[in-house]
Amino acid sequence: MNLPIPFLILSFLTILSALYVVTSKSPVHSVLALIFTFFTISAHYVLLNAQFLAVVNLIVYAGAIMVLFLFVLMLLNLSKEIEPIKSNAWAIAATISAGSILLMITAAFQVFGEAVAKNPVEGIGLVKALGNVLFTRFLVPFELTGILFLAAMVGAVLLGKREKKPTELSTNETINP
């Protein structure tokens, strides 16, 4: 089994930074390690000839979602918070659960993965091919996705604004009686 060096290096970096996300004490370090993980996953997409998804992954995940996480961390000033450590029993239970899931999925795919014949088609990950499929066969799900996004946006704004009323109510209640 001789794997190509770029794949080995990328996979090593991906797994290492993912482990750092999980084990790091500081949330800011976790966020930065997760951004690095997304960069390496984008590099994997390039290796898999999914060039457009690689760019979208960088823009959406590393650019938008992780910036949101960083903003929340900075706004809540959580960067120095030391999290209480769970007991050893929790660590053992979590390790056993994650390890058995790992074992189960690899065992399940061992049978199934061999059945996939390699049939690469040129230019499948480019904007033209993906746009063709997205705006013809997947048009209805695409439009529904827009509605989902609208609902999520309204929900996030509503949740963020909800704070005012309860505090006003509670101060009124404490003053009035």
Partner: protein, 108 residues
């Protein structure tokens, strides 16, 4: 094209192992950590492991449907992160903590 030669040397099983390991790391984080922000980040990690598997299968089978599904997963992940972080900010305002173990009021 050098990326194509690398692609030809790899089997689908390598990507299956890689994304399974990533998924398990994310699952371990969800089970082990208590900070709600880290929990959300571990969920993102698990979603990315699934995305990687989708892209790998899509490229190997020569079918672009898998890559379209990755788009939809990204949309769901973005919506989930926005709503989840809004809830997190709300929880922080009320309890001054982001520790998920304080959220056990439903225990009765």
């Amino acid at each position: 094209m050098s990326s194509l030669t690398i692609f030809n040397q790899l089997e689908i099983s390598h990507y299956i192992y890689l994304s399974t390991v990533l998924f398990s790391i994310g699952l371990f984080g969800v089970l082990f950590r208590r900070n709600a922000i880290i929990l959300l980040m571990c969920i993102e990690l698990m979603l990315n492991a699934v995305n990687l598997l989708f892209v790998a299968f899509s490229s190997y089978m020569g079918d672009s449907d898998g890559q379209i599904f990755v788009f939809f997963i990204m949309v769901v992940a973005a919506a989930e992160a926005a709503v989840g972080l809004a809830i997190l900010v709300l929880v922080y305002r009320n309890t001054r903590k982001t520790d998920v173990s304080v959220l056990d009021n439903l225990k009765g």
